[in-house]
Each structure stands twice: as C-alpha cells, then as structure tokens.
Subunit: 244 residues, 2 copies
C-alpha cells in the first residue's frame, strides 16, 4: 500500500492510499478519529455508478461514522470511476454510461472488484488504528451490484447495508447465486419511485438474501433521493452490530 495524502480536519483524519494488486492500482480513502491509535471497527463504503470515493454523500457518511461512532471508514473507487480514470474529472453522466456498458460487457468486473476490496481490507486491518475488525459494508445501487458478492464472500463482514438494486441487469445471475450466501444482518433500502430498478425486483433480491436477520425500508422518492432519515437509520444499524 502506498500512502499519498494525510490530512486532518475537525477531528477526522483522512488518508489517500493506493493498493497495488498485480497490475491494478486500487485508489481509496481512509477516515479515522484523529489521535486515537487503538483498534476499532471498520466500515467499507461502496459508492454508486457515476460517483467516486470522494463524492459528497460518501464523505459525509464517513465523517459521521467517525464523529458519532468512532469507527474507521474506507471507500475505494469503483471500476472506471474516480482516480481509476485517465480523466478523473469526467462527468457523472459519462462515467455512468461507461459503467453501464462495462456491466453488460465485462464478465470479470464483479470478481475484480471483490478482489480489490479484499486486498484493501488485508492492508487496512494491519493498521494500529484499525485492526482486525469487525467489518461492516455499506453500498447502494452499484455499491450493491459489486458489494453484495463481497459481503457473500467475506466472512469478516458482519453487517451490511444494501439496496437501490433488484434481481435484474447483466449480472442478475451472479446476484441470484450470491444472495443466498449473504448471512450477516442486512438493512435493505428501496425507493418507491425508483426509475432504474422496480420494487418487485428489489423484493426479489431482498427475499433471496440468506440472512435470517434482515429488514427492508421503503421510502418515497426516486433512485437518487434516499432521505437523511435512512442515512441515520443505517448508521444506527451498522453501529449496533459493530460496537454493540
């Protein structure tokens, strides 16, 4: 792992890192409470299509977890997102379009992203102010497309927030296969007026999850309009399982 930037603002330390995995460079951010070198739980945040590890809601969520729950948070860029792009300043629309095509055309995309996350996890859990876990996962939409298979594969993850996704799309078969292998407590978020993924397909994915402890919260609004209420509910849910 290569550490690139290290800055502290308002009690939260933010470190930029790049983990090398073969020829792949995996760029990420780590947020921790400043000046507290003891081990703590870690929450992995998977952003949505068109966004990045630096987008507003990811940073806000991370800082809130650090401030209120004193846990560590890490986010990495998704495939062809953020610092993985030659043009990291590309528009949300262009990035979304290219991701949509990659989702349809690259059968390795999910496995690569799962391996990226696991390589990052292996590095971060050696840090004095992170430690071995427990680990939580938080990811909606593309964060579920690529994150649900991670949660299914990674036994260190003990709680997950998933949603804004259904049993649909190019990797429907992969989600269908992996969902029953998810066994940790899950909070699944859906939007009643989601213009991308139907409530019916979302319920199919929710029902397919293997977890004995799961719940679905349905809110009004479109795909991108998850209300603050659910950010708070998900923070509470994750913290309850990570810190008791």
């Amino acid at each position: 792992v290569e550490w690139r930037e290290d800055q502290t603002y308002d009690g939260v330390r933010e470190r930029l890192f790049v983990v090398a995995r073969g020829e792949r460079q995996v760029p990420g951010l780590l947020w921790t409470p400043a000046g507290q070198p003891s081990p703590r739980p870690l929450v992995l945040v998977g952003h949505g299509a068109g966004g990045s590890k630096r987008q507003d809601y990811v940073v806000a969520l991370a800082r809130r977890f650090v401030h209120r729950r004193s846990v560590a948070v890490a986010a990495i860029d998704g495939p062809i997102h953020g610092d993985r792009r030659a043009d990291p300043e590309a528009s949300v629309g262009l990035t979304f379009l290219e991701f949509s095509q990659m989702w349809a055309a690259d059968p390795e995309m999910t496995d690569q992203m799962v391996a990226d996350w696991r390589a990052v996890l292996d590095q971060l859990t050696t840090l004095a102010d992170v430690g071995p876990g427990p680990i939580g996962y938080w990811g909606l939409s593309m964060g579920t497309i690529l994150g649900l298979p991670l949660v299914a594969a990674e036994t260190r993850i003990v709680v997950a927030v998933l949603g804004l996704m259904g049993l649909t799309g190019p990797t429907r078969g992969r989600l269908e296969k992996d969902a029953p292998a998810v066994s940790c407590p899950v909070l699944f978020l859906s939007q009643r007026n989601d213009e991308l993924f139907s409530l019916a397909s979302s319920l199919e994915l929710f029902d397919a999850l293997g977890s004995a402890d799961k719940r679905l919260h349905l809110q009004l609004g479109r795909h991108g309009q998850v209300p603050v209420e659910e950010f708070e509910a998900s923070e509470r849910f994750v913290a309850r399982h990570l810190t008791g």
Copy 2:
C-alpha cells in the same frame, strides 16, 4: 368521563376511565409522567384484534413513551374487546373470532370506533397534564382497520404509525376511501411472512395513503412477530414529530 382507578408505579401514573357516549361506555387507560402537571403531547394506541388496552405490548409501549419521551399515552378497548365485553376474561381466540364476524357484519363498526376515539380525545385534552396536543396515533392490524379512518378524520393527529394491514377485508372500500385523506407523516409496518394480510395488499394500502411523508418498514416474521427494533423505530418516529 368517570375516573375509576388511579395508581402510580415507577414514575408512571395510570388512570382507568370510562367515557360515556350516548348509550356506549368507552373504557380506556391513560398513562402520564407522575407529578408533572404541565401539558404534553398525547399518543393514542389502538390495540389489535383479540387484545385489549391492557395487553402486554400496549402497556409496555405506553410506559416506554412516558419514560423516555415524557408524553401522555391513552388506549381504549376496541369493539367487543376488554372491558366492553360481558366476559372480559374471554380468550384471545374467541375475541378474535367475534371481532372477525363483527368486521364482516356490522357496517357501523368503524364509524362508532372513530366517534369513541374522538369523544375520548375531547375529554383527555381538557386535562391539565395532557392539554390540546399535538396528538399521535399508533395502531397495527385492527388498530389500523379502525385507526386509519380516525387519522383521516381527525386533524388534531399529526403523526401516525400504521400497518399489519392491507387493502383487503370487509372494510376494504372504507380504507380505500379514507387512505387518501390521511395527510400526516406515516410509518407503515409490514411483516414479510404475514399469514393474514399479503405484502401486495399492504403495499396497495401504503401507496393509497395521501401523506407526502411516508415510509414502509418490512421485517421478517409472521403477523404477530413485529420485532423490538420496530417498536423502537416507531417510538423515535412519533417522538420526532410530537416533540421535535
């Protein structure tokens, strides 16, 4: 209103009352913080079929609202439930059976219960330790069958917890008519394995609610297995709208 019993335990005062409305006697319980004679918000709790104003979860919910939120709580017996019966010790099964028949056979049942609640509300809001409101409503299953029309009619009610019910049953038409008139914030609770009312009909009722601010929480388990998590979430939700 006639006050019958008055006892205080662990900081919570519990008063048994009977409100006369024409020939009808409406028995209820009022819980308030002991020794705090100032006005406070009031939460009305409508119990489920087969239960009563005294059943375990109603009393537990009421005492928790008083303890943690310092609001007042009132519950009244539903039609042919509790002290409205000649045999108040009748089994849950017999009471449930008789309610089911009344639901099918008595077209006045909903209007009578709405009028009972409003008569009780008129009385309780004159008390020094309750006052004019704001008012919340909390009722699942029969508490929604009979409570949704109350919430639709009563502008003093500013927040409601409803659920375990769908657009179905003998009073389906009444629910269909009244749901669009509900305009306050609503938390709607559903159980994925509800053996009485389907998720599809529950979503129909949720969608029919007129409220611009509503959300549905779906949990695993059967009709009667609403988890503690949702009692806590509903308490938080109601308190947020009643006390800010």
